[in-house]
Amino acid sequence: MYPPELLYTKDHEWIRVDESVGTIGITDYAQKELGDVVFVELPKPGDHVTASESLGTVESVKAVSEIYSPVSGEVTAVNKKLQNNPELINSDPHGEAWLVRVQLTHRSEIDKLMTADEYEAYIQQEKAH
């Protein structure tokens, strides 16, 4: 169920890398854990993000969670649809509900990320805890 063309983090973000541009979102597992998403706080185009550091927050009826960037780089685009339709994160987390696009500065950072199979195994492990 996790798209094989995406790479995944332990904090439940995904990234799709085309050339040197990465599109970032949160995973289906993350949206299920959060519950109904009511607000998303994202950086502005031109802002710098750093791998493993917070790039924004997702707020659900239960909690506010940090979104950790899988890579470092400059934000080139932000998904404006989420401003008024944050619930897209619940309905289409790996597609329409992408969060930001980032121009990668350290491409090698993606080597540390998990493949879909590895991520699937990782969340099975998480669930067992």
């Binding site: 607000f39 802002d47 707020e59 659900s60 009826v61 239960k62 909690a63 506010v64 940090e66």
Partner: protein, 463 residues
């Protein structure tokens, strides 16, 4: 607080449990040199009747008989008896709202009303359910602006309450925040030319107070346009919110915050006070503290809930929007009752009385040779007066007239020695003003210097 005495037998029992022969053993870890061995310089015990008499006497001697001209962030207004009567009802008089806050619909409704009235007074869109006090509310507003703009510099007006500026400094001391001050012009308002050269693309916020610490109204629209031109936010602090009943609300500001003590909370030896913070709806999620929202229950009935709690400390812990954890529900409730009781017309009438008294006093003082009202900016119920010689002596003279004569500004502004900040609320009668003016006239006719004997009057501690 309850006093729980224990008898010698109780103490013996406790010592047996802890395994000590004598209470002194508990202090053995403190080096003998460091322990005080003399007799404590304390009066002996008093009986209940003696204690009551002591306090009654102290009360009789204290400010009750005095007229106070002290303002500077703490205002003596008349408190209708209804305020305390409602406030001390058991349903309200608990220290905290329960963790399942929605069980206290009455408390939440009162907070909702508080928020509604604060937004109406300040010309803003949203309000929180109160903060600790005016100085911390101002600091929280500045921190909010730092989060919103992601910039690191804050410009504080020199006409902002000096203790508020100190509070801000205490908060940001160990953070990467740059603080600059905007000087005051000859008119007693901030120097807008200086402001223009101070605010730049790194400035997160400009913080001003209006009416400012000298009582003068700042030119908010002009300051707002200078501030907004650089993408910074304008924070307007209000320490005397009664002024908002006759002054145009600072709707050009991005955040309005301050102290609501004027509304039904007594000046009680430094506290408790009640901070407020209102802002634009788009900044809602960066606002600290609690917020009560109105909703409907499953049967469609009106109800109240704590909203945005997911951003609060008890859920988000160290990542909370703010680590402020004290709000002042009971004091905010006092303000709510007070405002409801006076109503729009009553509040306006009261504000007009304050305005008229201050302007009458200013007119009378201006007639005295040697007395100068240095600042020309328009004022509400407070203004600065310069006296020809040692202001401390004048304060002594006034005290013997049973008038607490205002704040000596030299304490906060070295350049303003012999300048007094005077405040005139509805509690200062015309006769008292005339007596004050007479004392000033005599003082100015025979100037004196310090060195005479007598108590000096200081501002009631804001701490």
């Amino acid at each position: 607080m309850r006093y729980l005495p224990n008898s010698p037998a109780d103490r013996q029992a406790m010592l047996r449990t802890t395994g000590h022969a004598h209470i002194d053993e508990l202090f053995e870890q403190i080096h003998a040199d460091l322990r005080f061995k003399g007799k404590l310089n304390l009066p002996g015990p008093l009986s209940e009747a003696e204690i009551l008499e002591f306090f009654q006497q102290a009360a009789a001697e204290s400010s009750r008989e005095y007229v106070s001209l002290l303002g500077a962030g703490a205002y003596s207004h008349y408190r209708p008896v209804v305020v305390d009567a409602l406030l001390s009802r058991g349903e309200f008089f608990t220290a905290y709202t329960p963790y399942q806050a929605e069980i206290s619909q009455g408390t939440l409704q009162a907070m909702f009303e508080f928020q509604t009235m604060m937004t109406q007074l300040t010309g803003q869109e949203v309000s929180n359910a109160s903060l600790y006090d005016g100085s911390t509310a101002t600091t929280e507003a500045a921190l909010m602006a730092l989060r919103i703009t992601r910039r690191r510099r804050v410009a504080l007006a020199r006409t902002l309450h000096p203790e508020y500026r100190q509070t801000f400094q205490t908060y940001v001391r160990h953070q990467d925040v740059d603080m600059v001050e905007v000087p005051c012009a000859a008119c007693g308002q901030i120097d807008t030319a200086q402001l223009e050269s101070t605010v730049d693309a790194q400035t997160a916020a400009v913080v001003i107070q209006s009416p400012n610490f000298f009582g003068a109204l700042e030119r908010i629209p002009e300051i707002a346009s200078i501030t907004h031109r650089q993408g910074a936010l304008l924070i307007v602090t209000v320490t005397e919110p009664l002024s908002l009943a006759v002054i145009k609300p600072p709707s050009e500001a991005d955040i309005v915050c301050g102290e609501a003590q004027s509304f039904g909370v007594p000046v009680a030896f430094g506290g408790p006070y009640v901070g407020f913070l209102t802002t634009r709806e788009k900044f809602l999620r960066q606002m600290p503290g609690r917020l009560v929202g109105q909703t409907v229950d499953t049967e469609g009935r009106r109800g109240f809930v704590l909203t945005l709690a997911t951003r609060e400390q008890h859920i988000r812990r160290e990542k909370a929007t703010s680590n402020i954890c004290t709000n002042q529900s009971l004091c905010a409730l006092a303000a709510t009752i007070y405002l409801c009781l006076l109503g729009k017309a009553g509040l306006r009438l009261l504000a007009e009385q304050n305005l008229a008294k201050a302007h009458y006093a200013a007119g009378r003082l201006r007639e005295i040779p040697g007395v100068v009202i240095p600042f020309t900016g328009p004022c509400f119920n407070e203004f600065v007066v310069k006296v020809p010689s040692d202001a401390e002596c004048l304060l002594e003279d006034l005290q013997s007239e049973k008038i607490i004569g205002g704040l000596h500004l030299g304490k906060f502004y070295p350049g303003l020695a012999n300048h007094l900040l005077l405040c005139f609320t509805e509690l200062v009668s015309r006769t008292a003003i005339d007596r004050m003016v007479e004392a000033c006239r005599q003082f100015s006719a025979t100037p004196r210097r310090a060195g005479s004997i007598g108590a000096t009057v200081t501002a009631p501690g804001r701490g």
